[in-house]
Amino acid sequence: MFINWALQEIYIKIVYYGPGLSGKTTNLQRIYNQIDPTHRGEMVCLKTMEERTIFFDFMQFELPAIHGKRPKFSLYTVPGQYYYAASRRIILNGVDGVVFIADSQRNRLRDNLDSLLDLEKNLIRYNRSLEQIPWVIQFNKQDMEDLVGIEELQSKLNFNAVPYFTAVAVQGTGVRETLKTIINNVIGEIERKWHVENS
């Protein structure tokens, strides 16, 4: 979070993390398409010739002013393939909340777990951890065959019992709910940290 008091702007950074091809970019594209263009900037995707994310995707949107204050949200994705570890670490700099996009197919279970461990390892580089940062998990690709059941996904991946969502991001299902929840949890964490008293 960063607050520019002169401009009354509050910046919050959300990172979409997860294994390659789990649907991180698709989530961002759906959000980009749903938001009124007057409230968002352009989306940038840094990708390879094979249409895979090579560094990050990025978009920023802002909410209507709240008593003159303007909350702005930056959404980033990371490249999922294992050899882009350094890029993922860079993008986590200054993160306020993480959306972990898991691929619900059985043959991706190991990749999901590896990616979660990689996320924890990278957060530790910034003296942070999954225990203390707001994060949510999205079980994506629910339209595919040979899925892992939600109970098993929960027991194997959601070890912090964070909010979870089932999704078919290509159809937009579960995308908005995931975003709304992570933003709510990030604001909740800011309130807790800065002792904002609830009326």
Partner: protein, 170 residues
């Protein structure tokens, strides 16, 4: 042993006061005038634009800032791989019509200058260094009237955010 890559997230500055912002803006204006620069921008290495002077017609400066922060951080990683811990404090990209000079300020901020070929790199280095030092002092200053976070994000904030999200996402 302490990991040299570890950055202390808690030590990051999260609030810029009105005075600090205006003083930084004034310094950017000064730097831009000295270097006849098309655009001078000050950002956070997490990718957030903090202040800009000048413009690049047709370019989205928010995206530019995210890319500059990514570029700078990626080169810092390269420096580490080459055993050059903390050695790459500035980058210079030479273009056919304009050049880009980026310099970091602490581990959190950076200053980028876009200038044309009529200005020498030596001048850019000298004036950017001076501005970096000055902005560093501005940021370090403890203003008495630093605003309390709880005055900005109060108990109503969360419900307004939820309402706002519903409005723009449907």
């Amino acid at each position: 042993m302490e990991n040299p890559d570890t950055a202390n997230q808690e030590a990051k500055q999260i609030l810029l006061s009105e005075e600090q912002y205006h003083e930084i803006a004034q310094e950017l204006d000064f730097l831009r005038g000295k270097l006849r620069s098309q655009l001078v921008l000050f950002g956070d290495l997490s990718g957030q634009l903090i202040c800009q002077k000048g413009d690049l017609p047709g370019a989205d400066i928010t995206i530019l800032t995210a890319l500059l922060a990514g570029d700078f951080s990626a080169t810092t990683e390269i420096a580490k791989l080459l055993g050059q811990e903390n050695q790459f404090r500035l980058h210079y990209h030479e273009g056919s019509r304009s050049n880009l000079y980026i310099s970091s300020l602490t581990d959190q901020f950076f200053l980028a200058v876009i200038f044309d070929s009529t200005v020498t790199l030596g001048m850019v280095r000298i004036f950017t260094r001076k501005s970096i030092d000055k902005i560093g002092r501005i940021i370090e200053t403890n203003f008495e009237e630093m605003v309390k976070i709880s005055n900005i994000i109060n108990s109503e904030f969360k419900s307004y955010v939820t309402e706002g999200l519903d409005k723009i996402l449907g």
